[in-house]
Amino acid sequence: MSETRERILRDIRNSLGRDRLDPDRESELRARIARHRRNPLPTRAIALGHWEQLELFVTMAEEAQATVTRVNSPAAVPEAIARYLAAENLPAELVMAPDASLDAIPWSSWPLLHIRRGRAEAEDRISFTPCHAAIAETGTLMLISGPQTPTTLNFLPETHIVLLHAHQVVATYEDGWDRLRTGQTPQELPRAINFVTGPSRTADIEQHIELGAHGPRRLHIVLIENGEAAGSEENEHRKAPSR
């Protein structure tokens, strides 16, 4: 196919009325990339303090039909999950990401939760995963693939439960990306980065929005608010976001 490659590049240069760019111009373009200059960003997200961003995230996620439970500490997570599953009339059986960050949760405090760790299989109904970041501007979760966080957990089961720490909330997609990109080459990027906003949906039949087309029917977020890196000083200024 290298003939075709050369032909397409030649056709493009002919249409542009020039030869291959000279090395100086190419260096300029590489420098443009390296600057990672941001285009205009939504003020509604970047003008907020951290706690307001958190509130905006919750508002937007709920608007996209995700559900959110707030807890005070990792110790409260097993109960929060068990109560959610009971309320939704779902079995207390999870497939959980084999991620070390979830080891600190005292699962033995809620022995009725059956937990398997690994990737999702066809018969798994409920998954539980950490996330990389949460984007306030649209209530979007940012999940990344890796040995400890398989992608199938985000898409195969009917119910996806995500653990979010308050300090993981950022304003924009770019902020989430920066947390990931720092010092990484493409080979080191995760294979998949999933921005997830609410559960799966379709409007393909008569524009009627139905949840749970092929991915999860339910997206539930367990948010740990306290005992986090975010300072108590900001906490005092907590108020409803202006939108």
């Binding site: 493009i12 939504p42 501007e137 209530g139 992608t151 898409f155 998949a192 980065i193 087309a213």
Partner: protein, 476 residues
């Protein structure tokens, strides 16, 4: 895909007379524009984002050779492979070769307009591989052996009763007495029918909304999650896409993503935006072992540097067709090829030739809504006009039309004659219209008067009234 754009007039007439189509279009006509407007009212930066989106795409096109080479080298660095394709046949051939080299029997597909453009499904089927469409709308029209009628809502021309009928005819293993009255039941049925295909497929084919040169990544945007299951579960992931999807950085992609969902469905963000970079990494528990990108030109490189270059900015959001009175009246199938609506009327002649697509540039009232809602500010009406000029220059219009247009053009270049003739015609028509003030029939205008009355002129032309008024006011 075989084009039937030559038959636009007949197909448009059939569309207007199709009750199911008119019911289905009625639902779309109000829904899409309303949701888009509400989303944009919440984002004061939308206009600034449109400007930024336009300049990102213009910058990339001006340096497309550089960004394509960079993109390819980064795909390779992450363990993937790029297959360049000059035309549809090469793209299909590349996909088949990948499937055969991996001894693949079953293929699932996420929605891809480029795959539609190259006719991939028919080609693979003829080669012994049946691809299963997994987007609900695409799945429905695949079962019905129909092409998509809209670029993001492929089954928008159907009402739910037609979908139920199709499911009953095709899902023969299910209880014939089951209830299929509401979209919910049909969604659940499609979910259950498609799940085994997702799990069994050897190859998953998706399109790409954007390609990021800096990282060699492909980005897909979906609501159903079918694209993600398609590209995560099989051994091999093939991205079928085209050269103008490139953007330099993730920051640039983020700007276009902010425009895309709002312009398309009026969502703040689609449910799933996924960035894929290469195959499964060491230690990963899932994801494809091979990652391929089939990168199509198919006439796009020839558009650069012409009056149609701006069309390459298109991000396939569908806002133009969602706001087009012609599309809303006749539906997408009338356009006769892959891309309908205003963007299709401009792009189709570029890709298959004005000889094949001559009617499409005329399928417009020039109302300008398409340009006013375009997230990357493509001057669609201007480009439709360019196509009409080329059509005229190539003598593709009927002789009567051409002579009439030439005659009018000659008269219009002679103002005194023009004013005298229009004044005379106004008076004559006013007199002939008599007391009724309208015509029920008029020679040479049967196309109009067959379906509605023609209002009669008041008796004077604007020019003569204006001249008289200026004279009264003492202006010369």
């Amino acid at each position: 895909m075989l084009a039937t754009s030559r038959d636009f007039k007949a197909a448009a007439r059939a569309g207007l007379a199709n009750d199911n189509l008119q019911r289905a279009l009625g639902l779309a006509r109000t829904g899409f524009p309303l949701r888009r407007r509400l989303a944009i009212e919440r984002l004061p930066e939308f206009e600034a984002l449109r400007e930024a989106g336009r300049s990102i795409k213009d910058h990339t096109l001006q340096h497309l050779d550089f960004y394509l080479e960079l993109y390819e080298s980064q795909v390779q660095a992450s363990g993937g492979k790029v297959h360049w394709a000059h035309d549809a046949a090469e793209a299909c051939g590349a996909v088949l070769e990948i499937c055969r080299s991996a001894d693949a029997k079953t293929v699932t597909k996420g929605k891809s307009m480029v795959a539609e453009e190259v006719g991939l499904n028919d080609f693979l089927k003829a080669s012994g591989i049946t691809p299963i469409e997994t987007d609900l709308g695409e799945y429905i029209i695949q079962l019905r052996h129909e092409p998509p009628s809209h670029i993001i809502a492929p089954a928008i021309h159907l009402v739910k009763e037609q979908v139920a009928e199709t499911f009953r005819a095709e899902h023969r293993s299910l209880d014939p007495g089951r209830l299929l009255a509401e979209p919910r039941q049909m969604c659940d049925e499609a979910r259950a029918m498609l799940r085994p295909h997702f799990l069994a497929a050897d190859v998953g084919i998706t399109g790409a909304n954007f390609l990021v040169a800096e990282t060699g990544s492909s980005i897909i945007v979906t609501n159903e999650g079918n694209g993600d299951l398609t590209q995560t579960l099989p051994r091999i992931h093939i991205v079928v896409t085209s050269i103008e999807k490139l953007v330099p950085t993730f920051e640039d992609a983020a700007t276009l993503l902010r425009l895309l969902a709002r312009s398309a469905t009026g969502q703040e963000f689609s449910s799933y935006t996924t960035i894929s970079t290469g195959p499964r990494r060491a230690g990963d528990l899932d994801g494809p072992e091979q990652y391929h990108v089939v990168l199509l030109d198919n006439g796009r490189s020839a558009m650069i540097g012409t009056e149609f270059q701006d069309m390459l900015r298109c991000i396939r959001c569908s806002a133009c067709m969602n706001h087009c009175p012609v599309y809303a009246a006749v539906g997408g199938h009338a356009y006769g090829w892959v891309y309908p609506g205003p963007m299709g009327a401009v792009l189709t002649p570029n890709l298959i030739g004005i000889e094949e697509a001559g009617h499409l540039p005329n399928a417009s009232t020039f109302c300008g809504r398409c340009e006013s809602v375009c997230p990357v500010k493509i001057p669609l009406p201007k480009m439709l006009r360019h196509w009409r000029e080329r059509e005229y220059a190539k003598k593709l219009n009927p002789a009567v039309y051409r002579s009439a247009l030439s005659a009018w053009g000659w008269v219009a270049r002679h103002p005194a004659l023009y004013h005298a003739l229009t004044e005379a015609a106004s008076r004559a028509l006013s007199w002939a219209g008599g007391g009724r003030g309208r015509f029920r029939a008029l020679p040479l205008a049967a196309g109009w008067t067959r379906v509605r009355d023609m209002p009669a002129p008041e008796g004077r032309s604007f020019h003569s009234l204006w001249a008289e008024r200026q004279k009264r006011r003492g202006v010369r």
